[in-house]
Symmetry: C2
């Protein structure tokens, strides 16, 4: 086999066999296929796409490039969860203990965030003492014992993904559905859960701007899961406004705790109940997502979900007192209001602009390895649809310095669209795809 | 400027500025733009193409990557000539002295061939003593003195082309019109002639299979010449059958000598008169190609063209006695006939198959740096349209060994299509594009 022929085949629009794709990925990881040939191949994939079979074969080859987690010892059907990410998206913090409280094991491996705010690991590390670096044995043991764990993925898992992503990142080949789908799913498959729920975001604050683009990505990922023999479903959800009210690491932890207490923002609770309902279906604990959602609502009200979160924090060395007293979380020295420049109704909030403001406050990172500030961020006080008077605060900026806070306040003010009447309410859930 | 942004811009179908293209090419030559980014860019160009302005800017950047030849000291308008190559294409051997004999300087730099037969340099080196490695000063002095010279291009000219071609060759990005056009034209522009005639072949034996594909390439090259301020024209000519009768280095030299004597194959003479007629127009020695062709026909009949070839051979150290006695050229020890398997009329000869047979005899090279055998090759005895009897020889194989000769004879026999009636004669000239 020659890399040249495989590049040419893809360039000319033909589908590669699973053997050809495996040869290419293996050669790239070993160094026998040079990066310039892989770069040309990736650009050809950008233009020609891949069939579901090719995408599944690519994912499989990536998974086989490294170690995988063996969850065979777990009782029950473990369900993993992935979100394509959005501004203020702390659903994992809520869902992992919530679903585990209903008896479905949730072993969740996560990455560091790049962008607006930290990833799930960064958010959890805002809790004093919380340890996300668990050994494989400790991770599995914790899931067996308390039903859930959240830890960082080992570098020994899916090395092909890290190598391919680094090359895509410098060759303008990131925005390709089969490459995005295989990158996400290779990590999910390597993490070992027998079922996977995907939350694919669409809208202004998401990677996929339209519901139809999100559907294409969701279908590719569900097809990969099906080919790999995992029960997989994808929920397409809107990300036009920031999810919930908080954007920032400790601020989102506090919001997740409030949600687990049954006192969270309505949009966040509603989305968690839908996603969690599907996780219960995939885990065999509900026959329909509606039945699952009802079960989870009971777990929120009974306090089971909050107690599971407390157990999770304790198990991983965190200060569990934050659950009863979120004031123990890191907090920023300055709080600045964002006064409304006009009276009216909040017709929209540009999620991406709010995310960028939070990043510039220090909540997110622009480069791998940067330290994030757990305390800073933005809390929306007037969500979409709310009436506001002139000068009333639209949001609160949590800042380290006045200079940074004032800059963020200007950006957040500009992110608000204030109109005469409320916008028509669009549904948060835009579709579901089942494997 | 970042290479990433330029890759993305091309990927998304936008046109790059001349400054952006120059930055990319300069960076690639210097090593600051890594080959994997250039590979992704080239594949994006494969899919998105380039405007004439972009192609001209790419060519210009390539020319500026190395040395260029200064022909400012030449009296008269020097005309260069390029052929996109074909089987048995020895027009340069005829045209350079022919056009020079009519008073238009022809300074021709050539490359080595890769494929069926050698390039022009390999063919000339079949003449004992002929030296194609001239210094710049010697090259220019010879053109001043006798009106023409044929030499190898220095490695210091257009290094960007060599680097880009090497990368295209391993990333399946050779077959792209703007990349082909800029590669050819960068070498022509660096070679310094103020006018350029392009012979773009189309058909079974050519790189471009159809006249419309050849036209697209020709238009791109003529546009580059125009942008660079060179008088440029392109003739599109058919290459369905081998040109002339000879395929092989010394065999083609002998055929060129016969043609310069006015005794060559009709198709070769006719094509040379058309191409040469245009060269006289570009060089300002004729007002129409027809007038130019008539002038050149007179130069063939008067013996001026043959004497100019003799002067060229002598000036470059070759044994000029080959002109009067082609038997002094290297000859192969074995000559084998290719008997016709059936009676009828030659309806077609697959040029590519004949070319491959000649290459396997040793006339061409499959890898850079391979030595070619000057003596071996194929001579067509029965061209398209000729009547044949069973067993009559269709062609003569000039071989080094009986084994190689018999194998070539089988391949050449298979390349002949013998039918009941002659095919309709198709015109050799398929179009002309003027700058």
């Amino acid at each position: 086999m020659r890399a040249y022929d495989l590049i040419q085949k893809k360039r000319d629009g033909a589908a590669l066999s699973a053997g050809e794709i495996a040869w290419l990925v293996d050669g790239f990881v070993l160094g026998s296929v040079p990066d310039y040939q892989m770069a040309a191949f990736l650009m050809a994939v950008y233009f020609r796409g891949m069939t579901f079979e090719e995408t599944a074969a690519l994912t499989d080859a990536m998974v086989r490039s490294g170690e995988t987690l063996d969850l065979g010892s777990l009782a029950g059907c473990a369900v993993d969860k992935h979100s394509s990410g959005g501004v203020g998206d702390n659903t994992s913090l809520v869902l992992v203990p919530l679903v585990a409280s209903a008896g479905v094991p949730v072993p969740k491996l996560s990455g560091r965030g790049l962008g607006h705010t930290g990833g799930t690991l960064d958010k959890l590390e805002a809790i004093p003492g919380f340890n996300t670096a668990l050994s494989e044995a400790a991770f599995v043991e914790q899931v067996e014992r308390i039903g859930c764990a959240i830890a960082g993925q080992s570098a020994a898992m899916v090395p092909a993904d890290a190598q391919l992503y680094a090359l895509r990142d410098v060759t303008a080949t990131v925005d390709s559905v089969p490459l995005i789908a295989s990158s996400i799913m290779s990590k999910k498959l390597a993490a070992g859960a027998s079922a996977i729920l995907l939350d694919v975001k669409c809208g202004r604050g998401a990677f996929m701007k339209t519901a139809s683009d999100a559907r294409v990505l969701a279908e590719a990922m569900v097809a990969i899961g099906r080919e790999a023999g995992r029960r997989t479903a994808a929920v397409i959800s809107a990300m036009d406004y920031p999810l919930g009210r908080a954007v920032g690491n400790a601020l989102e932890v506090a919001e997740a705790i409030a949600t687990l207490r049954g006192e969270g923002p309505g949009d966040l609770e509603a989305l968690c109940l839908v996603l969690g309902g599907w996780m219960l279906v995939l885990g065999g604990r509900a026959v329909s997502p509606e039945e699952g959602s009802e079960e989870l609502l009971r777990r929120l009200r009974s306090g089971d979900a909050l107690r599971k979160f407390e157990a999770l924090v304790s198990a991983q060395g965190g200060d569990a007192r934050v659950v009863g007293d979120p004031g123990r979380l890191p907090s920023a020295p300055l709080r600045l209001p964002v006064p409304a420049p006009a009276a009216g109704v909040v017709a929209g909030i540009d999620a991406e602009a709010v995310g960028l403001a939070a990043m510039q406050l220090g909540a997110g990172r622009t480069r791998k390895g940067e330290v994030v500030d757990p305390a800073v961020g933005v809390v929306i006080e007037r969500p979409a649809g709310a009436a506001v008077k002139v000068g009333e605060s639209l949001a609160t900026i949590h800042a380290r310095s006045e200079e940074a806070g004032l800059a963020a306040a200007r950006e957040v003010a500009a992110a608000f669209e204030i109109a005469e009447s409320a916008p028509a309410e669009a549904p948060v859930i835009r579709g579901v795809i089942r494997g």
